[in-house]
Symmetry: C2
Subunit: 339 residues, 2 copies
């Protein structure tokens, strides 16, 4: 299988991205990767990592989209030679390329995916779907949409529910994923006009819809998929990130607050490192842009080589298991198409 | 000053509530409290806490609203003899009672406040406003609305901004509170249709509006007031709660994961207790229901006596500083009334 990777997106690009690609092709049989970006730099890095095989090729891209512009669609149009756009073009044009990965600007990846690739038939609004850690070690929860669509209709949320459910099956192997709707109370009738209308659609879908949940319970490990409009989902995701960072900074402060607790830290160092790893949601891969014609995965901005390998494996799972085809078949079966 | 306290709301009621009232009248000169609830039980508790003064009186209420009903307004109507409703009636009818406090059902307190007390002139949607801790020790941030209004119009968010700003001044003594709008990006044009329209209103208000923020930055300590519609605000609040509980549970697990880290814990015990206190937002008092004709404060469900004293002091500050009058004057001045 062949994938394309944006070599110049993310805080530690291009080094960690190229290194991750080398690790991936060394580990995974039959994997081929095209890396986009400045040819000389990538060549030198491949030499540095002593890569001598022929499973990695380079597609030249002279510029890099570095910022989240207010209007990412404009960026995509005005920078056709950027590493993201070149990667998206390859994904679109080459039939044998099955997925694209970038650790670059989320806005640009989303806008580019939408503009260049287009949508799965029947899905009018693709959604950004990261996987968050839960209280149960090793079990993640998929939250979507996390910001691709600030304004949604009920049918969009129904599509998110279907895409999330099949994603949880396909990538994480959950047999009958528990899908919940993010709301302001657990009772069926609680919520906004949008969430209440969505609730009615969700309960009639052929998925394991378990009802409303409050944001407080997102990370309990009781759910596999949480559905939200892009505005609330983004706020939920970023509240989780901000609070985790807030608690860890307070923890660090308390540890260094006295000599006694500094001594204690020496004993707990390993456990606290495990805690940090446990909270790190790079362990579950990247955020997938679900609903695009071909899989597009957004790796975390601070991805290192190891995280890139995780995202590459995730992309292969989605492609190998015909994720998009399953969505299309489901939509056709239940006839849930936005007018 | 006289206030009324629901004696039978909250996980540790009536004991901790009555104890808190006794502590408050012993500490605060000129404070009088009416406690609502079952007379015999309250009498026995006052005897137990050796209270012999005449600053606490009892208003009989035979029933207790224990659950969050799907329709709290119905509960309020059908339980006129409950400790919450009796307290609200006293607040409404007695001119000398300046505020009401309950640690009971949020839904019932909100619905009751709205039905019994009515709104400040010009405010069509009162808002629930808790104060969250931030990275800066001792500095809280007011987040509103946290769930009183699942569907909002832009003008409601403008009212929230004004109410939050004056609240931050009145209760926390912040001179020129920084007010931010919760959105999905920091750029002015980022957001939902609702938040973008609200942005335009907020930037013309006579407050220190600093623009959009992402949920990730809510707890940095850089802001004094964060404005959101009740659906997103509730999700933000509960994501913070859920994530803090998630991280603390992971921390506990890592501490007990090895003998070595258990030894470390012995040294760090005090620091970790400080951390827990630092994260506890009961330190900032209760959530006020801003926009009601008279101050109504919702104490946390798990409030102990000490927390009740904090909420009582908060209520007195709001009343003494003529919070409601300031809001009315501001609304009149800027002529921002919902049609």
């Amino acid at each position: 299988m062949k994938i394309v990777v944006d070599g110049f997106g993310g805080d530690f690009s291009p080094n960690e991205i190229v290194k991750g690609c080398v690790m991936a092709v060394n580990e995974i049989k039959d994997l081929e990767i095209i890396i986009t970006g400045k040819e000389e730099i990538i060549k030198n890095l491949l030499a540095e990592f002593k890569y001598k095989g022929n499973k990695i090729s380079i597609a030249k891209a002279e510029t890099v989209i570095t910022c989240d512009d207010e209007n990412p669609a404009r960026l995509i149009r005005s920078m056709p030679d950027s590493s993201i756009v070149v990667a998206l073009d390859i994904l679109k044009q080459n039939e044998d390329v099955v997925a694209m990965i970038s650790a670059g600007s989320t806005g640009a990846v989303l806008a580019g995916g939408f503009l260049k690739l287009g949508r799965i038939k029947g899905i009018s609004r693709p959604a950004l779907a990261p996987t968050l850690p839960t209280k149960i070690s090793g079990k993640g929860v998929v939250l979507l949409d996390c910001g691709a669509n600030a304004d949604c209709k009920p049918i969009n949320l129904a599509h998110f529910a279907i895409m999330g459910s099949i994603y949880s099956q396909t990538v994480y192997g959950v047999e009958n994923p528990k899908v919940a709707l993010l709301s302001v109370g657990v009772e069926d009738a609680k919520g906004s006009m949008l969430s209440k209308s969505a609730f009615k659609l969700l309960k009639n879908l052929p998925i394991n819809f378990v009802g409303n949940i409050e944001a407080r319970d997102m990370l309990t490990g009781d759910y596999d998929v949480i559905v939200a409009d892009g505005f609330s989902g983004n706020i939920a995701l970023k509240s989780v990130e901000g609070t985790a960072s807030f608690v860890m900074s307070k923890l660090k402060k308390s540890i260094t607050s006295s000599i006694k607790s500094k001594v204690g830290y020496l004993f707990m160092k390993k456990s606290l490192k495990n805690l940090k790893n446990d909270l790190d949601y790079k362990q579950y891969g990247g955020s997938q842009f679900l609903g695009c014609k071909k899989p597009i995965l957004k790796a975390h901005g601070n991805s290192d080589a190891k995280s890139i390998v995780v995202v590459i494996k995730q992309a292969l799972k989605v492609a190998q298991n015909n994720y998009n085809k399953k969505i299309e078949e489901m939509l056709e079966k239940i006839n849930l198409i936005e007018e």
